[in-house]
Symmetry: C2
Subunit: 335 residues, 2 copies
DNA sequence: GAGATAAATGCAAACGTTTGCAATATTTAT
DNA sequence: ATAAATATTGCAAACGTTTGCATTTATCTC
């Protein structure tokens, strides 16, 4: 237990070299002889010394920190409990750490008015990863226009002046719906919020699939939460009866909420109503019947997000990128 | 879009005052006349100026950052997908932001060898919140002994030289088990890892409840994941048949995994086997049948964690604190 | 209206690194 | 052995704030 925090100068004195040498040695600068580097690094470890990041950051004008903002629509606050979003964050965390970067987490609430400015001008972070497009893209757009280095997890096909990484939502919606049609579904409900960034694309895919089979749309617009799904399916069954034989849900949580309502009313899954979700969260596999879904490759996405952000920081121009999705068929859709 | 980043000095020149005045004004220091303060703050906003945190931190030796470490056992990596842990993190995030603190997120992997030192000596953060005790408390203990300001989410009854905030796990285990007994269960399985920090206490509660009703223990030790639960219950049913009539699961995810195995074999819930979980994650309510569980007050816990950390940073001595739990009875345990 | 007190502002020295350039030590070529 | 090239180290000036103390300005007291 050292009484005082030791600093670079002290270490230099201790080793009988200049601070420049210590600084370079600790940063593994090849200017310094390998032997000296080793010695100084050992000494540093011995004395439990770490470089003061505040000082380095001030001097270098770099933080090696990336701010991650979970972009929720204010009213639908509960969607923060969606395991999927949090899984994405956790993958981003891993990807950042692998690059020696750190993750400053923030819900958008805090940084509401001018978050971009808040993080970048104050040099809290070098760049920003926004998780979720939400409904207010202008917010992000302004930031990008102002030259803030940022990347977004969202729907990559959305026209934008900033790079978006995300799944092929259109294809996902298309595949999910087609899959249900191929298994005999005729009246397929789309359960979700077609206004919402990523989800509108899923809806488009759904529509396309229906159109090419000359089927009719049944859109049920809800908040993107399981409880909202539960309630609305419940209400639907009560008021209109079982007028549908399949559901394309905009997320697994929504699908699971719907499933509960169906099961409570003894609607057989998948025989009476078949279901496909989106995301492939852990629960999709564990639910009973297990939930067919569109798997998103979050791990790959995370590395891409980080990579693109770094490229952007290096001054390169980077483009949006679509990530393949995969239809996972489980019990909920097999008749 | 400003071409150059503006700094305090520039702002001072612009306003025709000294940098001291600007600095104080922006920090709302009452030494400065209210009128001047307002003017300067307005000017700062106008010019999109924010204080350079690197410089402030260097000067003040404070970061206003708290590092949050998710403390997973290496082998059980998948438990990162447990929504509960992530919910705790997200509550901590909120609580921190409310105090004007920022959250530096880290999985323990990165900071493995000497994480505490890593965060504190390098002045990346003022203090640390560890989420989850894991199995290796010595790690934390050393850090605490070295004077690192830290608080832990875990079992508060664990003897420790650092403050722990967490639920009354013993009582939770006791209540869950007693509840099942009162509803007629005779052969109650405890499903979880009794070696694991928080969970061992839940197991103790379970044991106590059984003892006071002269019932026998059936401990099934598993990894704390839903898939592990699913597999082991499956195997149990296959090899030993249905020798139990209730399950106390160490977490909701585990309970849900078990439920799936039961449902697949047409074991009726709750009639043949009743279940109680732990955590009250969103899925507990959405599963079918809905899952009885022990609710943990994560929001309160988060504010406490933050509060205790701040007190510690202020030099106060702080103690561990137990948080009340609540038995939520749903369908899975009602016969 | 002068002196004393209080309020508001300015000066200048830190905080602990990094880095361009200069200086020294070492190696190589002749 | 000497000059030239190269490898290694050191000097000192930033980076942009904050803050103790000194100084100026405004307010009060008699």
């Amino acid at each position: 237990m050292n009484n005082k925090k030791i600093k670079l100068t002290d270490l230099a004195k201790l080793a009988g070299v200049s601070t420049s040498t210590v600084s370079r040695a600790l940063n593994d600068n090849p200017l310094i002889k390998q032997e000296t580097r080793d010695k100084l690094q050992r000494l540093a470890k011995e004395h439990n010394f770490s470089l003061n990041t505040a000082a380095s950051r001030l001097r270098t004008q770099k933080t090696n920190v990336v701010a991650v903002i979970i972009n929720l629509d204010e009213q639908t606050e509960q969607s923060i409990s969606d395991p999927f979003l949090l899984k994405v964050v956790s993958e981003i965390n891993l990807a950042l750490n692998q690059q020696g970067l750190e993750l400053l987490l923030s819900n958008s609430i805090m940084a509401q008015d001018d978050w971009a400015n808040y993080f970048i001008n104050s040099r809290r972070a070098d760049g920003i990863i926004v998780v979720g497009q939400g409904k207010n893209q202008t917010n992000i757009e302004n930031a990008a226009n102002a030259g803030i280095p940022l990347v977004v997890w969202g729907d990559p096909k959305t026209p934008s002046n900033y790079p978006i990484v995300g799944s092929d939502n259109y294809l996902g919606g298309l595949q999910a719906t087609t899959h249900l049609i191929e298994h005999g579904a005729k009246n397929i409900v789309f359960l979700g919020d077609p206004e919402h960034g990523e989800i509108s694309e899923r809806h488009r895919g759904y529509s396309a699939a229906l159109a090419s089979h000359k089927l009719e749309q049944h859109v049920v617009s809800i908040d993107i939460t399981s409880s909202s799904a539960y309630q609305s399916i419940n209400q639907l069954l009560r008021e209109k009866g079982l007028y549908f034989d399949a559901i394309v849900a905009c997320s697994d949580m929504v699908a699971l909420g719907a499933m509960k309502a169906l099961k409570e009313r003894y609607v057989s899954i998948p025989n009476d109503v078949a279901l496909v979700g989106f995301d492939d969260i852990a629960m999709a596999d564990i639910s009973h019947p297990s939930l067919s879904t569109i798997r998103q490759n979050t791990q790959y996405a995370a590395t891409l997000l980080v990579q693109k952000l770094m490229q952007q920081l290096a001054g390169e121009k980077v483009e949006s990128q679509v990530i393949d999705i995969e239809l996972i068929t489980r019990q909920s859709s097999k008749r």
